[in-house]
Amino acid sequence: MSLVLVGTSHRLSPVEVRERIAFDMDAAAALAQRLADGGEAVCLSTCNRTELYFSHSDPDAVEELAADALLGDEVELYRMRDEDAALHLFRVAAGLDSLVPGEGEILGQVRGAYEAGANGPVLDRLFREALRVGKKVRTETAIAESPASVSSAAAALAQQVFGELTGCRVLLVGAGEVSELAARALTARGATISAVTSRTEESAARLADAFDARTVAFDDRAGELERADVVVSSTSSPEPVLSRDQVRGNGRKGRPLFVIDLAVPRDVDPAVAELDDCYLYDIDDLQGVVRESLSGRRREAERAEAIVEQEAKRFRDWQASLHVVPAIASLRERAETIRSGELAKAEGRLEGLSESERRTVESLTTQIVNKLLHVPIVRMKEAAATEGAGYVEVARHLFGLGEDESAPENRKPGK
């Protein structure tokens, strides 16, 4: 059985090409079932990639089948086998092949593809390992810790002030798309949008509805500061909408206030940053954080690559060990046949033995066989990982495995 991967991704194909071979979950599952053809198949289709994984006894045939399914004549595809294919999937699951290194969404997509696929022992193991490697990389490196967008940077910084955002109240000043994105990032981490204020009351009402929040008249915004922990401001006002005096005079009694100013021109008087317990970030500050964070992710990616390569090597060893399993089974079977046959032949001479003595003879002969086979079997497993299937063939030849024992050349001289 060989592992085969055929696919394309954002690295090879632009979106107008990728969208032609993108499959939703049901279609991907149906395609995998159709292409499996007695083997195993999984289709991983996301907005950045479409990939088909196979475990099959005829790798060339399934590779062509997959290329046809992915419009190989028109789409540039990559084709990989065995360890390379495993390494690729592990890198994908770890987020190392993503646009933003370490992004977390891919892990769920790999899980979805695995669950919908036509799995057998090889792809089942491959995908379970890929999911484990994906988690391991995110646990053992900081690749997924830093934010990759302005809104997630704002939410991560708010967490550095308040810890868990559960119970944190957010005031949205301005009800545009930018405010909404920031609000989503904050609520995803547990914050509550408590109030929305905007010069356009309809926009405020729409956004407030979306987050189950109150609307506040724009002129009353300063009064709302007393109840808020986080303020997100993104209006199109040419003048600041929150002054230092408005923020200072809100009776917060030392509670921190985190202010996110996403507007250009800025909505919040920069002097607010000078107030005790007030932390003000504007769009440039947040973009700076994202830049630093992405370079940090790339640095962490180097460590992640080492983990992934090590795991791919382990998978290769496991895959190689599959080649020896039938040979080991044949060897054991052959040995057992000989052992029981010889005992049967000696039956006449063993007639006088008691039941207990008979069991002792059974046990003794079994132990001799097991001990004789132990070292060859261990060596065969070790060699399978390092020297491939050739070693198994040598073992088959030496022990005459798979040959007819009754054939004249396999009989002992004089028998």
Partner: protein, 261 residues
């Protein structure tokens, strides 16, 4: 035996301090080495203290150098409660170099020696020194948490992206922790002081250390009143904790002048 155990404990604390510095340079790279250094060092120092106790004829840490040895063990023990969590690794950068340095000073000043005699009973010394040092250890940890708070607060004020790289606990968490640590340590210190004062009645004399102890108690007591009574939070609270710690350091130095002499 104690001298033999000093070196592995010192090396493990030193290794932890260096690893924490490496981890601060490149977060995530040496954190595990650092936390294992702390754990191993603390276990070895525990064995060292047990060896001292087994060999001594009475309370073995009644001298200044001996009490420093016990103090380091208490500080690292208190740090271990949270310190091995990744988010508190920056705290290790504050605590572990201090622990290694103080242990070395204790060694150089004869803190591993248990042959000295003291005119006070072991029970009194055990209670008084043990409780006061446990209180000091807690206050030291509170000061380290306050330092971490002030660092993180400054980084947030400066809008530095380092704040996300190092990922210390949040300001609210740190502020709550150092206030709670003071709230826990002060009663322990008070008990230790009460035992000392009971003995003082027999001795009927005041020394500068006693004055400093009372002053320290007043500063921390005032801090707790303001923190829990008047919602004193943030930077002011961190500075108050550090002011109290400056008095703890002054007390340690005064102790060297011969409180038990």
């Amino acid at each position: 035996m104690a001298e033999l155990l000093f070196w592995p404990a010192f090396l493990a604390y030193g290794e932890a301090a260096v690893a924490y510095a490496g981890d601060a340079r490149r977060p995530g790279s040496m954190g595990r080495l650092a936390t294992w250094g702390v754990r191993v060092g603390w276990l070895v120092q525990t064995a060292l203290l047990i060896a001292q106790a087994a060999r001594a004829d009475g309370f073995p840490w009644g001298t200044w150098a001996g009490s420093l040895n016990l103090f380091v063990w208490l500080v690292v023990g208190a740090y271990l409660i949270w310190g091995c969590k990744p988010r508190f690794r920056l705290l290790g950068l504050v605590v572990m170099p201090l622990a290694a340095l103080l242990l070395a000073i204790s060694y150089a000043a004869g803190g591993m020696d248990v042959s000295g005699t003291n005119r006070y009973s072991s029970l009194f010394l055990g209670l008084h020194v043990g409780l006061v040092l446990a209180g000091f250890a807690g206050l030291t940890l509170a000061a380290a948490l306050a330092v971490l708070y002030l660092w993180q607060e400054r980084e947030l004020k400066r809008r530095s992206s380092r704040v996300l790289r190092f990922r210390a606990p949040s300001l609210v968490t740190l502020e709550g922790l150092f206030a709670r640590t003071v709230a826990f340590s002060l009663p322990v210190l008070t008990l230790g002081m009460a035992v000392g004062f009971a003995r003082l009645r027999e001795r009927s004399q005041l020394d500068p250390l006693i004055v400093l102890t009372v002053l320290t108690w007043a500063v921390y007591g005032g801090f707790l009143l303001l923190r829990y009574g008047a919602d004193w939070r943030g930077r002011r609270a961190a500075y108050a904790t550090l002011a109290g710690f400056a008095l703890v350091v002054a007390m340690q130095l005064t102790l060297q002048a011969g409180h038990f002499g």
